[in-house]
């Protein structure tokens, strides 16, 4: 598996999920913010997938079992708190990872150096909303806690080995990345008056599964929608 494919699929799939919010956000500023983040991620996906092959062939003509994204990013949006929990977990991971890739001088260094500026904004957005929801009203506190709990079991996968991203060449030490992530998320969660979930972060079904093309059920439906038009017109250009 290529690391570019894994990182590209993460960005592609999360971008798609965020795109589903268009026209449904709780406030106009969030219509702008969520679309903005989705666009940044789509831009990253296009660069990464183009390193592997034709971006559209890769996005539209692979089946579910060939996608290498984390199960975390394919999880349905749920309510706004659920979406923010997913953003918090992923954007902190992505920010820390891209900082390290940018500094590591490997094949992703240039790309990561550009993307890390965007991802810093995504991370700030997710952290700020985690604080507002966690330390807002009783209802928002409960919803945010529920979002954190529901997605917790998908977070361990982020620290499974990804070929081409480990110590050799790219300068990413997974254990160090994991402890930096845990420390950052813990700080935000506690500031937000929330509790860090205590359940397992990996399991027999989730650890590394997305990276190996084993996904959760909603993902196939997401791809069906995403790919339908492109597949209906084989060979057409758009």
């Amino acid at each position: 598996m290529s690391a570019a494919l894994a990182l590209g699929d993460d960005a592609l799939v999360l971008s798609h999920r965020l795109g589903e919010w268009a026209g449904h956000a709780p406030v106009l500023e969030e219509e702008v913010a969520l679309a903005n983040i989705a666009l940044d991620l789509l831009g990253q996906a296009r660069v990464l997938l183009s390193l592997v092959g034709d971006e559209d062939e890769l996005a539209y003509l692979r089946e579910e079992r060939a996608f290498r994204n984390l199960q975390l990013v394919e999880q349905p949006n749920g309510d706004f708190a659920h979406t923010i929990a997913r953003q918090l977990y992923f954007s902190v991971y992505q920010h820390l990872l891209y900082e390290r890739l940018a500094a590591g001088g490997g094949e992703f260094a240039d790309l990561a150096a550009k993307a890390v500026k965007e991802v810093a904004y995504h991370r700030d957005h997710a952290e700020q909303w985690t604080l507002r929801l966690g330390d807002g009203t009783g209802e928002s506190h409960e919803r945010m806690q529920a979002g954190l709990e529901a997605l917790w079991r998908f977070t361990g996968e982020m620290f499974q080995p990804v070929e081409g991203l480990d110590a050799t060449g790219s300068g990413v030490d997974r254990e160090e990345l994991e402890s930096a992530w845990l420390s950052s998320v813990t700080t935000t969660v506690e500031r937000a008056t929330l509790t860090l979930p205590t359940g397992p972060r990996t399991g027999a079904w989730t650890a590394g599964a997305g990276r190996q093309g084993v996904h959760t059920e909603s993902f196939g439906r997401m791809l069906a929608e995403m790919q339908h038009l492109h597949r209906s017109h084989p060979g057409a250009s758009w």
């Binding site: 592609l12 798609h16 795109g19 589903e20 268009a22 026209g23 449904h24 956000a25 709780p26 406030v27 106009l28 500023e29 969030e30 219509e31 702008v32 679309a35 903005n36 989705a38 666009l39 789509l42 831009g43 996906a45 296009r46 997938l49 971006e55 559209d56 996005a59 539209y60 309510d79 706004f80 604080l131 507002r132 929801l133 330390d135 807002g136 009203t137 009783g138 209802e139 928002s140 919803r143 929608e225 995403m226 339908h228 038009l229 492109h230 017109h233 060979g235 057409a236 250009s237 758009w238």
Partner: protein, 351 residues
Amino acid sequence: MAAVTADQKTQSTSGTAKAAGQPAGTAPDAADAARLAVFDAAVAADDRIEPRDWMPEAYRATLVRQMAQHAHSEIIGMQPEANWITRAPSLRRKAILMAKVQDEAGHGLYLYSAAETLGTSREELLDKLHAGRQRYSSIFNYPTLTWADVGAIGWLVDGAAITNQVPLCRCSYGPYARAMVRICKEESFHQRQGYELLLALSRGTEAQHAMAQDAVDRWWWPSLMMFGPPDDASSHSEQSMAWKIKRHSNDELRQRFVDICVPQAEALGLTLPDPDIRWNEERGQHDFGAIDWTEFQEVLKGNGPCNEQRITQRRRAHEEGAWVRNAAAAYAAKHTTTPSAPQAQHVEETA
């Protein structure tokens, strides 16, 4: 797509056609007469009216209504296009469409801000939209049934909106005119992208060409309706033109739009669904067929294909987002650094 439409403009405030600018039921005293003279002179001189300037109440009310409807059109107008974000057939097209829908939310924000300079609030305006007391452009009550509709909306709907809106960049009310300068730049960009999308389809496979033609066939007449009723049925236009909110009549703008579209359709390799379109040498303009004003009235009355769906989705997004807005307000109240903390009193109770 920013689509302030003449059908909205003509639903003008009650009483605007009366003596210019006198608040209904108020006897003008000498000071008012002097202020009105200053206002009239500023409008006559093509000066901009600014938020702190005195203005006739009817002028203020007309602007609030028009700007609110314009803002609402941006927000509702996100829906027909957002309908295709998750199905866009290439990553490049998906990025363009996402950026466009994002721009529309941004245009809505500019326009609500501009309307707020007249003493209203975004919340109040949104409440009126949700209650059905303010309108949005009739065009967004039509469905997007194929991918080509995204191109047809860009080319025709944004094209009609731009034809309507470029004159608004010279509107007498400063904040509105300045918002329109920014919005028109982005709209022109969207329109070119829509045209380019249709061109790619038109030059593509037979099925793609047919998809493009079908979309143009469905969007052409509704786009012409965006300019509003014919001049002889548009009773409030005169006042808006006198105030220099509006610069051209509905029929003038509609004619201008048809004249622009005919050669563009030819260049696209697509036909317009009107057998009566032909060049009129004498007028130096195109003649075109009769618009179905009954359909237009039905859509305005709420009986278009998507009226119910559009407003329901908007209300639902607002209602389902209430707890998020309440959370932000509660957080701000807790963490404010000002000693008086007046916001705390405005935090709504959550269920």
